[in-house]
Symmetry: C2
Subunit: 188 residues, 2 copies
DNA sequence: TGCAACCGCTTGCAATTTGCAATCGGTTGT
DNA sequence: ACAACCGATTGCAAATTGCAAGCGGTTGCA
C-alpha cells in the first residue's frame, strides 16, 4: 500500500486492489448489498478485523472507489456506496470469479454468482452495472431489469427449478434467503 | 497469505493472487518473457526485493501457477514457466489493464499492451494464450500467428504508422526495442 | 589456471502491516 | 433508565515487507 513505482496499468491497479481485503469489501457491497460498517464486519464469510475494515474503507474512499455519506435515518450511521470506477470493476470481478471457479476449490453454492456472471457475459455485466448505478449513484432505474430476464432464462435452461426463485436480483445480491439445493428432506 | 476461509471463487482467487507482487511476477513472465530469477529481479519497473521474489516464486510454483525446471544450457540456472492455469489469467489481466487505463494515472507507453489487449478482445486473448502455450508448455505452435494479423490490422487502423513494427509479438512481449512514439528528433 | 562476472537464493534486521480482543463515546428503541 | 447497537479506536503480538549484504557454486574468458 504505497505510492506508484510504475505507470503500468496492471501495476497501478494492483496498487489499489492488490491486497487481501479491498476486493472482498467491494464484493460484499456490490453483490451482498452491505452498506454499513457492521454489516461488512459481521456478515461475510471471511471475518475481516474491524481495524482493517476501517482502514480499507478509509482508503477506498480516499482513492475514489467508495463514497461515504451519513445515513439520514440514523444519525451515527454511515452508508458506503460504490462509485462509478468501482462499478466498472464488474468485468474484472467476473473474470476473477470465472478463474477461481475453474482453478480453485470453490464451494458450489458460493459459486452461483460467478457462474451466472460468466454465463451471462458482457451483456449481463452491463445490465448488472446499470442496476448498481441506480442503487449506488441514484441513476434513474433501467426501464426494466434485463438481469431478471437473463436470470429467469438461465434458471429455466440449466435446471428444472432447484433453487428459490425470489426476485431477479436476489441471487446476485445475496440479500434473500440462502439457496436451496435440493427437495425437502422430509420425503425420504 | 494463509488458508482458505471461504469457498467463494473471488475470495479463493484473492488468496492466491491478492498481494502486491504475485501478479507482477506473472505479468513479467507472461508479457516480458522473463524466465530467470535475475531477469525478474532487475528488469522490471517495480524493483521487487530478492527475498520477496524468492518467496513468491516458491509460492506460485507451490500453488501450480508456475513451474520450475533447470536450464539445460546452464547448470545452475532455473527457468520459470507459466502453467495452464496461469495462462488462463490472460482475460483477468486484460480486464485489470483495461480498468487501470481508465481509472489510474497510467503512462501512455506502458499502456500499449493493455490497450492492445482491450482492443483485440477475447479473440486476441485466445490467440495470445495459444502463443503462450507454445512457449511455456511446449505445445505445437499455432499454424500461424493470429496475433500478428490482428496487430498489423490494428496498427494500420489506429494510426498511419508511428511506432516500430517489428515482429508481431514484440509489442506484447516487450522483448524488442522500446516503442518509438515520434519521428527522429534530428529533423527539426 | 586464474579470476571476474554471474547464478539462484539466503541471512540479518528494521519498519510496516495484519490479526485479535477489548473498548470507546454517542445514538437508538423500549 | 437502559440494553442494544453505531462506526470506529486502542494496545499489543505476530507476520510480512523492504533493504543491503553475502552465500556457495558455475561460467566464460584470458
Amino acid at each position: 500500500m504505497q505510492d506508484s513505482r510504475s505507470g503500468c496499468p496492471i501495476s497501478l491497479t494492483l496498487e489499489v486492489l492488490g491486497d487481501r481485503w479491498s476486493l472482498i469489501v467491494i464484493r460484499d457491497i456490490m453483490f451482498g448489498n452491505r452498506r454499513h460498517f457492521r454489516e461488512l464486519l459481521g456478515q461475510s464469510q471471511e471475518r475481516i478485523a474491524s481495524n482493517v475494515l476501517a482502514d480499507r474503507l478509509k482508503r477506498l474512499v480516499a482513492v475514489g472507489l467508495l463514497s461515504r455519506r451519513d445515513d439520514p435515518t440514523h444519525r451515527q450511521k454511515a452508508v458506503y456506496s460504490l462509485t462509478e470506477p468501482a462499478i466498472q470493476l464488474v468485468p474484472l470481478l467476473a473474470q476473477m470469479g470465472a478463474w477461481g471457479r475453474r482453478h480453485r476449490p470453490v464451494t458450489p453454492e458460493l459459486s452461483i454468482r460467478a457462474e451466472l456472471l460468466e454465463q451471462g457475459g458482457p451483456v449481463l455485466w452491463e445490465a448488472f452495472m446499470a442496476e448498481l448505478r441506480s442503487v449506488h449513484l441514484g441513476t434513474p432505474s433501467p426501464a426494466r431489469s434485463v438481469l431478471a430476464e437473463l436470470r429467469a432464462a438461465y434458471d429455466a435452461a440449466v435446471t428444472g427449478a432447484e433453487y428459490n426463485r425470489t426476485s431477479s436480483t436476489t441471487a446476485l445480491t445475496g440479500v434473500g434467503r440462502p439457496v436451496k439445493t435440493g427437495p425437502s428432506p422430509s420425503a425420504s
